[in-house]
């Protein structure tokens, strides 16, 4: 077991909207050990993106705590937080809209180094940019190109180089390969794995793609309507999902083979509203194993088996 790099405790982010209070992230707690990857999966609107941004304080949380490397992030001043973000970076989903169209590759990658005043000497800074381009597999001849001249895969490599520029310890990856073709997706996933191995980076990997998250993560957290409903090591989660939602989600993966296709659990209906949720299980209306208690009280996240957490009335805490 490694050192805990990030600890999130009872994190909440509520948005006030016309119809009431939207519970985007609701009482989420977890830890990530250094050098590991926590995958966060869930469908649109489950709060996974808000979670990633709230951890970096790109969105201020409503309540809860984030401890990074032992420091309480919410107690940091704006300038201290700014300094801290050198160690905490983010890679965005859409490589088309997250790059400044008027900056060349070199300028884009150089910008964070320049802003942080990390390398004052311009020649050395330029060497650093070249080194970063090399790390992410961007050919040197592209140094003066603009984002519109490049395909999605290369743009995502720029996003990664920019995140790496500060030598971060931790990167939030928000659907980094979702907009890429499969052959390019595999290139980027392999690159991110190599970087992790070489530089010991810790990832929070947000995605809706279950086969990608299984391949990429050490541990997986499943979110549903703002709640963390299950968390376990990746292989455990895939072999023995405990939450009925996780079970349905895993069975819905379109598998690229024609024999031994898994039995599919069909869910009724669609996501209910995250606005002013009742204090009951948020999945109850779609659950095929719904019991009386599920529509009366909200199940807390419990450790049902060693290191396997679930928030469901079907499961009891393990006896220690």
């Amino acid at each position: 077991m490694g050192e805990i790099l990030l600890e999130v405790k009872n994190l909440k982010k509520y948005f006030h909207v016309a119809a009431g209070t939207l519970h985007a992230v609701d009482d989420v707690s977890f830890t990530i050990e250094e050098g590991r990857t926590l995958g966060v999966v869930g469908e649109s609107g489950c709060g996974k993106t808000t979670l990633g941004r709230t951890i970096l304080r790109l969105i201020e949380p409503t309540s809860g705590e984030m401890h990074f490397n032992g420091k309480d992030l919410r107690k940091l001043s704006t300038s201290e937080m700014r300094y801290m973000r050198r160690e905490m970076q983010i890679i965005f989903q859409d490589p088309y809209s997250s790059l400044n169209p008027r900056k060349t590759i070199a300028e884009t990658i150089e910008e964070p180094i320049l802003l942080a005043g990390l390398i004052p000497d311009s020649d050395k800074r330029f060497m650093r940019v070249l080194k970063l381009m090399d790390t992410v597999g961007l050919a040197q001849r592209l140094i003066n190109t603009y984002p519109h001249e490049l395909d999605g895969g290369r743009r995502q490599r720029i996003g990664i180089a920019r995140a790496l520029a500060m030598n971060p310890k931790f990167i939030v990856c928000d659907e980094p390969v979702s907009s890429l073709d499969v052959s390019i997706q595999a290139q980027i996933l392999n690159l991110m794995k190599t970087i992790q191995r070489d530089m010991g980076i810790t990832y929070l990997f947000i995605t809706h793609d279950l086969s990608v998250v299984n391949h990429f993560s050490d541990d997986i957290a499943v979110m549903y309507l703002g709640r963390l409903v299950e968390k376990a090591p990746a292989e455990v989660l895939f072999q023995m999902p405990l939450h009925p939602y996780t079970q349905a989600l895993l069975s819905a993966i379109p598998v690229a083979r024609i024999h031994n296709r898994p039995e599919r659990i069909m869910l009724k209906g669609e996501l209910t509203s995250p606005i002013n949720p009742e204090p009951v299980c948020r999945f109850a209306a779609r659950c095929n194993q719904c019991m009386d208690i599920c529509t009366r009280s909200e199940p807390p996240l419990i450790e049902a088996r060693p290191n396997h957490f679930v928030a469901c009335h079907l499961h009891k805490p393990m006896v220690s």
Binding site: V182, N190, S211, L249, R261, R264
Partner: protein
């Protein structure tokens, strides 16, 4: 095979776009045959020419840039390119219907879903407004939406429901051919599973042929009977579902499968295809895939590979099979 037996026959289709005086070779020499009641999955990455192929069927290419250079397309034996604009208009939405990728932008926000489903029926089948609306209610129920929501507007529906509404619009006139362009790409997996189930059920209960355009092999495995793998405007391998999933021959097809994470074995390394798809304005000589192919031989950069039939249903276009039908991968 007699043209009358197949709902769709595309023969040797070549489509170009003229952009800034340069020619984009979008689709080159594509053949697709879909018998009634069967589904053909057209698979490929961005820019492979899948959507252009689909748009050609109803002559919907963007003008003036798009141009059909050669080829023939038959729908129910009728030569589409010989139809008058009026005849073509009569075919669109009735014999042939289309479902687009993005459910958010393909519905009219200021008309009720009922009106939008009824519209096609009113145009193509001289039915009264009342009759069309009652049919629309039935269509809505067919795709799993309560009929009493017929008077609601698109914004009142979620993404998955909107895609169902679009499928209902497409099916309203009971088409012989449904063209579905990435119909579930914008949807969440559990909703995607619902929509795919709906598509499968519709198939089982009708003689409708379907052209399914997708980049996801998992979806192909679920709904298709035949598969065509498209790369840089050409179909490089084509066969039945079993031909492609159990007996694939083209290095690009292999690459597509190897790029996918293995759900059973999470430690298996991904083997991406090196490099990028070529610029369709500037395709490499010979086989377009040769710069990325680990099996490339000298002739691959020189000569275009010929189509080689490996069985009655399965063909591949690759120099590895010039002399042999044995699997070379």
């Amino acid at each position: 095979m007699d043209a009358q037996q197949n709902t769709l026959e595309i023969k040797n289709l070549t489509v170009e776009y003229l952009v800034d005086d340069e020619v984009v070779h979008a689709v080159t020499g594509v053949d697709i045959t879909i018998p009634a009641g069967k589904t053909f999955g057209l698979v490929g990455e961005t820019g492979a020419g899948k959507t252009t192929t689909a748009l050609s069927i109803l002559n919907l290419l963007p003008l003036p840039a798009g141009r059909i250079v050669s080829g023939e397309i038959f729908v129910n034996g009728q030569d589409v390119f010989k139809l008058s604009p009026r005849q073509l208009q009569a075919m669109r939405g009735s014999q042939v219907a289309m479902v687009f990728q993005d459910p958010m932008s393909s519905l009219n926000p200021i008309k009720t879903v009922g009106e939008q489903i009824a519209e096609g029926m009113k145009i193509h089948r001289e039915v009264s407004d009342r009759e069309a609306l009652s049919q629309a209610t039935k269509m809505l129920e067919l795709v799993g939406i309560p009929g009493d929501r017929v008077a609601e507007y698109p914004h009142q529906f979620s993404g998955g429901m909107k895609q169902r509404v679009i499928i209902a619009i497409a099916l309203a006139c009971n088409p012989d051919l449904l063209i579905a362009d990435e119909p579930t790409t914008a949807l969440d997996v559990t909703i995607q599973a619902q929509v795919l189930k709906l598509i499968r059920e519709l198939k089982e209960n009708s003689r409708m042929a379907m052209l399914m355009i997708t980049h996801a092999l998992g979806i192909v495995a679920e709904v298709c009977d035949f598969v065509g793998i498209m790369y840089a405007g050409r179909i490089v391998e084509c066969g039945t579902l079993a031909d492609i999933f159990d007996n694939l021959r083209h290095p690009y097809t292999r690459g597509l499968f190897d790029s996918l994470p293995d759900i059973e074995n999470r430690r298996a390394e991904l083997k991406p295809i090196p490099g990028l798809i070529p610029d369709p304005m500037n395709l490499p000589p010979g086989c377009s895939f040769h710069p990325r192919c680990s099996y490339a031989k000298p002739e691959c950069s020189r000569d275009l590979p010929q189509v080689r039939w490996l069985s009655d249903t399965h063909y591949v276009s690759c120099h590895l099979y010039n002399e042999t039908a044995e699997n070379m991968l």
